[in-house]
Symmetry: C2
Subunit: 316 residues, 2 copies
């Protein structure tokens, strides 16, 4: 049926990780080995243009042999049954688009879509820092704060695909408004814009190593590592918000493993250590004792590996 | 095999609902019909005495015919695999006791144990206000605040049985210490002692219908219904804490149905309406829109029906 060129590649699935700025894509073997990879700027604002780019990426990766199926991760919600996308602020043209069906018709392969944090959670549970844990929380720290949940060994997406909105748990009842319509959400403090806002506040009337720097979380964590008081204050605030959100999750779900992923989580142990300490303060003691914390093991590959895994599981 | 006296009772399971003060027990048919019931004061402080009382209750209910299995709900944590009890503040002698095995050896029937809120959640999902919803949160409002989760159609207990500790989600970062070691937990405000404390505060220097009354949640809700300002303040505070905890759960789990049970929830619509309003303020809009709220349909029977259901599912 397939024109097999390399024996091992006949079973390679294709994983697509579509972000607001870049598309990453890779061939992923049944054992998780990552083969040929692509990384290209997102070329279009329109749904049609985006889907064409995705199909071209599949086509390119199929030069090494056809793939049995394609998985796609997006920075938004995917309805579990219909595969329709919702709430994709960075790629608004995808709102309401039945992504899996559209992609399948364009690339000629069975296609499956998922939220990007959910895909990354699956990848970490399969081969990364969540391996061997039936109940796992994956937290994605980037511009926003997202999460994926593996419960009783399976990805849990909730009724309509919205599960894992840890970034919108309210942790500061006296906090600032959030884009979601609520206020004091984890994301208002621990999302990238929250770091900037709080760094600006912390620097007021103070000498700080942050002066004149780009106020990105990574830069702030670095300054905190160097002992800068303003930066430490900002890191502490982010850790407190994340710790409160993770503690709420642990109290509710009694997961055994928390994996911290996303760009910001790579910034350094100073953040993770504080997140763990703040989580501990707010978690039922037996629940905290039964849980361990790790940084993502798959790093930037979690997205494509997870997307491919979505397709593998759907075809199993 | 069984000495069948009444045809329909041959398949009756026995459900035991052990509280801190009362033991409730009932025969429950395979279709959920509740047969003969018992309610008796808890007679012993010792694990041995409690287990003997449970076995006697089973024996009494088996006068109508033998039961294929027995389910037990307790106000504490039950380890999923071992059936060992933990964290049973009102019946501390049960700490570390392998309840299911001990009960089975005393009553001669296969026996299964579960947390009481989990059992009630199963009952409501099976026959009550959660019927037909694959993803459901059951909140038990009583002396404490507990919860049970049905996710993807199955009871979710977490790694070690602690899932559903909604009462220990921190909702008031400036709040009072909680028995769990944290502070500002939902339960410090919406648990019965929290109602008393806040009513005493609200009555200070104020004329209130609560003066001279027993400060139980039901009494306070009644006074709020009559327009008493102090009582309304207390109800609002409880609703805010519960709403924040439920909102955190909805954002994380995208459940379709919330069922409010336990003695306090029966106090009146004035509380439930406010809980819903406070939840809405803090929940991702699409998630709130996809969720509906109901009061428990099984009321005081939820415990025994759920305990019997635990046994049925374990034997299925």
């Amino acid at each position: 049926m397939y024109n097999v060129i390399v024996e091992s590649s006949a079973a390679d699935f294709i994983g697509l990780d579509l972000g607001g700025t870049f598309l990453k894509a890779a061939r992923v073997a049944a054992d998780g080995t990552v083969g040929r990879k692509l990384r290209q700027p997102v070329e279009s604002d329109s749904a049609d243009g985006l889907l064409s780019q995705l199909a071209r990426a599949v086509h390119l990766l199929e030069e090494d042999g056809p793939a049995p199926a394609v998985g796609l991760g997006i920075p938004g919600i995917v309805e579990p049954v219909t595969g329709v996308a919702h709430g994709v602020p960075n790629l608004p043209s995808l709102e309401g688009v039945p992504l899996a069906a559209e992609l399948a018709s364009r690339c000629g392969r069975p296609s499956f879509a998922a939220n990007d944090a959910n895909a990354a959670a699956l990848a970490e549970a399969w081969l990364g820092a969540g391996q061997g844990f039936g109940n796992m929380l994956y937290v994605s720290l980037g511009t926003g704060v997202g999460a994926g949940l593996v419960l009783d060994g399976r990805l849990f997406t909730g009724h309509a695909g919205y599960a894992g909105e840890i970034g919108h748990i309210q942790v500061a009842p006296d906090g600032v408004p959030c884009g979601c319509g609520s206020w004091g959400c984890v994301e208002t403090i621990a999302g990238a814009p929250g770091w900037v806002r709080r760094a600006e506040e912390a620097m007021l009337g103070r000498v700080s190593a942050l002066s004149g720097q780009r106020l990105e979380p990574e830069v702030i964590v670095q300054a905190a590592h160097g002992g800068d008081a303003a930066a430490l204050e900002v890191v502490d605030g982010a850790a407190r918000a994340l710790g409160a959100g993770i503690a709420a999750t642990l109290n509710l779900l009694n997961v055994e493993r928390v994996v911290m992923g996303g760009g910001v989580s790579a910034a350094g142990a100073i953040l993770l250590d504080r997140v763990i300490a703040e989580t501990r303060l707010r978690t039922f003691p037996a629940v905290f004792a039964g849980c361990s914390f790790r940084s993502s093991a798959l790093g930037a590959d979690a997205g494509v590996v997870g997307a491919a895994r979505v397709a593998m599981l759907a075809r199993a």
